[in-house]
Structures are given as structure tokens and as C-alpha cells.
Amino acid sequence: MTYVHPIHDAPKTFLSKYIISFDHKVIGKQFLWYGIFFLGIGGMMALMIRWTLAYPGEAFPVLGNLLFPHTNGVVPPDTYAMLFTLHGTIMIFYAITPILIGAFGNYCIPLMIGARDMAFPMLNMLSFWINFVAGGLLLASLFTPYGGAAGGWTSYPTLSTLIGSPGVGQTLWCLSIFVLGASSTMGAINYVTTVISFRAPGMGYFDMPLTVWGLWLTAILNAIFLPVLGAGCMLLVFDRVFGTHFFLAGAAATQGTGDPVLFQHVFWIFGHPEVYILILPAWGMVSDFLSFFSRKPAFGAKSTALAMTTITILSTVVYGHHMFTTQMSPLLTQTFMTLTMTISIPSAIFFANWLGTIWRGSIRFDSPMLFSLGVVFVFGLGGLTGLYLGTVSTDLYLHDTYFVVGHFHYTMAASVLLGGFAATYFWFPKMFGRLMNETLAKIHFWGTMVGLNGIFFGMMVLGYAGMHRRLYNPFVYEFMQKMIPLNTFVTISALVMGVFQLVFVYNFIHSMLKGEKASDNPWEVGTLEWTIPSPAPHYNFKEIPVVKCGPHEFGNPNLNNGRDFQYQTEELVKA
């Protein structure tokens, strides 16, 4: 097979090199910075929320007096509602999505499939800048009269219509989600096309690293389901701005009646796949890392890929379990419950394959591996606790309690965050040409692990005890008085976790500037991105590689070239 896309000259000006860059690697880094920035904001909001729950009526330390001068540093109730709304929105749409999908998707897909760039570099660039506009809109909503959106990240009408939230904040929220949806859809179109048509010669779908599988399936889900949320947001904006009656009902619906529950359906048709949109890249990466650092082929890589595909398909038909308490018809309720339960089959196959991968391996505990093992642990907890919520009768009690909060943080926050950290530590050498400090990384891992389990397990215990969500001051209820100490414990765990993230930030910046120079292949891994120099040069591959074996060729006893792994460009050594 001969070669193909042309090698353009590297851009020279600052603007074309770092700002309006068409290079997928630069766009990936832009997304990374953008996501880390919002992760910081979202994390700060989480700390304020936690502080209020543990010490209601006490001033938020250090920042409180600056942010809330009218109340002497105490978070006021309306701001509290805004905080948890924006914490959810920012973490899901502006932190995790940019980091996992935007940054690593952009950075890794072309490198791992042996392409010079994405299929549509300009679309890619636009996708980032439109995302930027969406982030701007969201931040701008904070400075409008009445403040930002305060109806929860789900923004159920009728609370999110004019009767529940007057003011421009909620409208801007909807618009920013709509714009973000457009940006992510553009990204998704790009990813899907790139993976299908830009794979290096010889690379079949099952020769792709599982990371690419995860990102690809994510992109497919994004392209299909983000427009559904877009439609919901658009109708909500019409309700708010033009006075349509889609979601108005009750006393506010003066002229005929709409249906607020319809928004919930539309929202969760998107919302449940969204959970998998966030977790699939992390699954793919973890499946790869476990194999890379156990020096052993990924156990049942094909079945892992197929299990991911199965979950992707199943995720589209189970959304109703978010709405059991709205009293759908018993038939629908039972159907959704049964469908939800079937997800545990592919999930169990994942765990079997992950454990099979490290079984009889030769495990190196580098930081990406530690974080990957962490993902298996927290995702185990998160996945299993999902069973309570998929069951109708226990959901009647647990719905909208902290049990739900703990559960989805385990799956969406803890697993995805740990997966994101693993990816950062793993690809950092390729991105910046330097290694991150291993000792600090390990300190970061253990601190994060202890902190997040303290937080999220504590939350689940609180939820089981009956504490419900989104309370400014839970202790106005008698039955929650006894939960004050546990709430304090959760808050302190959150502070601990927050402090350990500073280690990461320090490590990241310090290593980027002064870290040890990385070799081309510091982890001794055979996928395509490690066949080129670190940091990856402009336009990646001098010659488009020809793929001859799978991505997980480790520990082949017939190898006799002094390495224990094979590059994907090498013919598989047989006995």
C-alpha cells in the first residue's frame, strides 16, 4: 500500500500553531487545558456544596467572604441551588467530555490508527471553538440577574420554565448545552469517519486498540443521541422565550396543557446513553492499560470489544429506569427494569476479562496501571450499586437520595476521573516529551483513592439512611440529625481529595516544563503512537505504517529480539 495524505508544512505563526490550529494534537491539548480549567471550577463548586452540607450556616473558608459578601461568606440557598446545578453541568459537559473525548479522543485516535490527522481537521478546529463559545455562554449565565441556572443539571420543567426560574440564566444554560451539543456532534462525525476510513493499511477493526473502540462507540452514541437533548433544550427555550406550551402544566398552563414528563423522557433518552458516552472511553483505556502493564495480551480482547458494543446498544433502551417515581404504566416499568438488568451480562464479561488480563501476567505498577486497577475497583462498586436503582421497588425508596448521588459518582465521576488520570499519566510523554514524576503520581493515586471512596461510599450510606438530594440544610429534618457526623466525614474526605489534586497539578506543570526527558517508548508498548518520536512530530508518521499484528502483543515466548513486546508494524512471531 502506498502513501497518501500530504505532509503540510508545520504552521509558523503563534496563531496558527496554538490557537486556530488544525493539528489534532494541538486541538487535543487545547481540550485538555479547557477541561482541566472547568474541572477546577466544578471541583471548587463541589467543595462549596460539601461545606454547606457539613457546616450549614458557617462561612466558606478562604473564598467565602470574597464570593458571598452579603451573607458574610455563607453560601446562600439560591446560590447553593445554582452551585449543584452548575457542578453537574460543568463536570459532565465541560470537564469530562472535553478531557476524555475531546482531548484523548483527538490526541489518540489518529496516532493509534496510524493516520496523519483527523478526517476533517477544520471541523475539528471548529468543534473546539464552538465548545469554547458554549463554555463562555455557561459562565456568562452566572453574571445575569437572578444568577445562573438553578434547576438541577436535569433541569426538569416546570421548574426550568419561567414559573420556576425567571431570569436569563436558565435560557443561557439551555443555549449553551445546545451549542455544546452541536460541537460534540461535529466532533463525533469526525471521529466516526476517521476511525472508519483512516485506519492504517492492514488494521482491521479488531486490530484497533480498545481505547479506539471505546472512543469510536462513544462518538457513535454522541452523534445519535446528542440531537435528542438538543431538541429538548430547543423546545425548552421556546417555552421560555416565545411562550409555547410544550412543558407547561398545572396552574401555569393557562391555555391548554403540555406535559412536563415528556421532557424527562427526551432528556433520559439522551441521558442514559450519555452515562455510557462518558464511561466507554475509560473502559477502553483501562482494558488496554491492564494488558500493557501486565505484559500479556488483553484477555478476550474481541469479547471486550463486543461487550462494549452490546452495552452501547442496550444503553439506548433502558432509559426509563430514571423515571420510576413518575409512575409510568406498570408494563413500561417492568420492561425497563428487565432491560436494565440485562446490562449486567456484558458488564460481568468486562470484569472477567479484566481480571483474566492480569491473571498470570507480570504486572508493573506504574501510575497508569495503578489508576486502571483503581477504575476496576470503583467501577465494581458503582456498577453493583446500580442494581438497587434498576430495581423498581428499592428505587422507590432510594430514588433522589444520596444513594443515587453516590452511585453515579462512582460510575461517572470516580471511574472516569481515574481513567482520565491513567490516560494523562500514560500519554503525557507522547504529548509533551517528558515523563511525569512517578512518586508524586503514586501519592496522587492513593490520596485520590482514599478521598473518593470516603466521599462516595459515605454518600451511599447517607442515602440508604434516607437523606435526599439537593438539600441546602438537611438537618431541618429530625430523622437526619444523626447524619451530621457522617456528612462531616464526607466533606473532610472531599477536602482531602481536593488537596491531593494539587499534587497532580503541580506534577503536571512541573513535569511539562522540567520533567525528565522521555524516550520514544517509555512504557514499552507496541501500539502505533509509540513507534514515532516523543513528543509526536507535526503530522505524526513519516510514512504511514502498515499494521501486521494486534495492539496487545506482549510476552510472546517466541520473541528473540530482546524485547517482550512487538510493535504493531511487525509481523507476528510464531513458533
Binding site: 420556576g164 412536563p260 469479547s303 460481568a348 507480570s362 447517607l462
Partner: protein, 267 residues
């Protein structure tokens, strides 16, 4: 700053000392315990599988670390016995947890939570609930037994019911979505404007309990609470007689705001 850290440390020690695994509130209904039972079953099975995962995760990490096991076992996991093990794991989880809890939950729903009492039966207490920002309104049919008439008993914040009788609630909302949440009955159902949702239970213990709103409904969501007062038969009768009398003489029949109720269908 030091002070702040010191106080945090003290708090931390205190919180760890008193952080026992909190148990939920007392069950006061005939069927609330079913939910606890199902929860316990799921927990036991979850612990079993999670311990298996942890044994694998930590055990393999320990056994096959590089210094101990320098030569990895070269396998793709595509051998027949590998596939069989994987499938068995998948099916074992599905059969032992999922199918069982689906069945148990369906039984619970059909036997208890969807099995609404006959509201035409004299013994069933009927209550209409109207949620609004940020208050619960309760309505009893009053002396004539018909809802939305001038003699209806109306009460804010306090829900009084007799012990041992089935109570059926029909719930709607005036403005935004709320959720009627009885922690002690292990039940909640959304209050949705434009729709009527239903809930029932049969209390078996007297006392005062909390009622909460579980769905985010605005700034003062956290203040939207009410009291559930379960009385013994005689106390309830006394309360009911007085309330019905007061409603008859005290209700302003011309105030349209009082007619937020609706008639129940005669099945």
C-alpha cells in the same frame, strides 16, 4: 489557617468516632419492610461478587507482580475453557442477582405497591395531596365523603392518619414537580402538575414522622417538609370529628382557592 486545620482535625476525629453505618429510619408500614428485605438480598449478593472481584484484583496484583512472576503467560483468552469461564461468570451474575431481584421486585410491586386498596371501601382513608412551592396541602373528603366540596377538611403541613388502616393518596402539583417522600414507609412518588399519581400504605405504628419533598423544586426545596401523624383509632376519630366540624362551620365556601381538589372516579 492553623486554627482552621486544627478544627478540621478535631471534626475529623469526632466524625470517625461517631460514624457508624447508619441505618435507615424505622419502618412503620406493613409493606415497607419488603423493600428493606430486597435491599438486603441485593447487598448480600453484591458483597459476594464484589469480594470476588477484590480477591481477583488484589490477589492477582500480589501474586503476579513483576518481581515475583517475570514471565507472563502468553494467552489471548480465546481458548475454549476461557470462553466458558467468561460466559459462566456472566450468566451466574445474571441468574443469581438480576433475575432474582427482578422477580422479587415484580412480586412486591404486584402484591403491595401497585395493589391499591379499594377506595370505595369505608375503611380506606382517602387523601388528596397538592404540592406547591414550598408546602404540602392535604385534603380529606370531609363529612359528605365527596372531594372538592365546601366541607372538605384541609390541612397544611400536617397529615393525620389512623394506625392500621389503609391510606390512599392521590397527588398532584400546582407549579413545579415535587416528590412526596415518606422515609418511614420507604416510598416516594412524584407530584407532577397536570397529572395525578397514586400511593398507598398501611401504617402499623403510631407516632410523628417526617414527610419530605425529594425532587428539586426551587430555592427552598429543603424547607418543604411536613409531619406525618399516625394516631390510634380513638385519637384519630376525635381529631377527625373536630376537623370535620370545623371545616363545616369554618370553611369559606365562596373562596375559589379552596376548591383545588377533584372528584374521585366512581369505579
Amino acid at each position: 489557617m492553623m486554627n482552621f486545620i486544627n478544627s478540621l482535625m478535631t471534626d475529623f476525629v469526632l466524625s470517625v468516632e461517631s460514624s457508624y453505618f447508619l441505618s435507615p429510619t424505622k419502618v412503620i408500614t406493613t409493606n415497607g419492610a419488603e423493600i428493606d428485605k430486597l435491599f438486603m438480598y441485593t447487598t448480600v449478593m453484591n458483597i459476594f461478587y464484589f469480594v470476588l472481584v477484590c480477591i481477583g484484583l488484589i490477589g492477582f496484583s500480589f501474586l503476579y507482580r513483576k518481581s515475583k512472576n517475570p514471565k507472563p503467560y502468553y494467552t489471548y483468552g480465546n481458548k475454549k475453557n476461557h470462553l466458558i469461564v467468561t460466559l459462566i461468570v456472566g450468566l451466574a451474575v445474571f441468574l443469581s442477582i438480576d433475575l432474582n431481584i427482578t422477580r422479587m421486585s415484580n412480586d412486591d410491586m404486584l402484591e403491595h405497591f401497585w395493589n391499591f386498596p379499594d377506595h370505595k371501601n369505608e375503611d380506606t382513608i382517602k387523601v388528596e395531596v397538592l404540592a406547591q412551592q414550598w408546602m404540602w396541602n392535604f385534603r380529606y373528603a370531609g363529612k359528605d365523603g365527596v372531594f372538592n366540596t365546601a366541607d372538605d377538611v384541609m390541612s397544611n403541613h400536617d397529615l393525620v392518619i389512623p394506625v392500621g388502616k389503609k391510606v390512599e393518596f392521590r397527588i398532584t402539583s400546582k407549579d413545579v414537580i415535587h416528590s412526596l417522600y415518606f422515609p418511614n414507609a420507604r416510598l416516594k412518588v412524584d407530584a407532577i402538575p397536570g397529572r395525578i399519581t397514586r400511593l398507598w400504605f398501611q401504617p402499623v405504628e403510631t407516632g410523628e414522622f417526617d414527610i419530605a419533598c425529594a425532587e428539586m423544586c426551587g430555592t427552598h426545596h429543603y424547607m418543604m417538609k411536613a409531619k406525618l401523624k399516625v394516631m390510634n383509632e380513638d385519637d384519630f376519630k376525635a381529631w377527625n370529628n373536630e376537623a370535620e366540624h370545623l371545616a363545616e362551620v369554618g370553611n369559606d365556601g365562596s373562596n375559589l382557592d379552596n376548591y383545588w381538589g377533584w372528584k374521585w372516579e366512581a369505579e
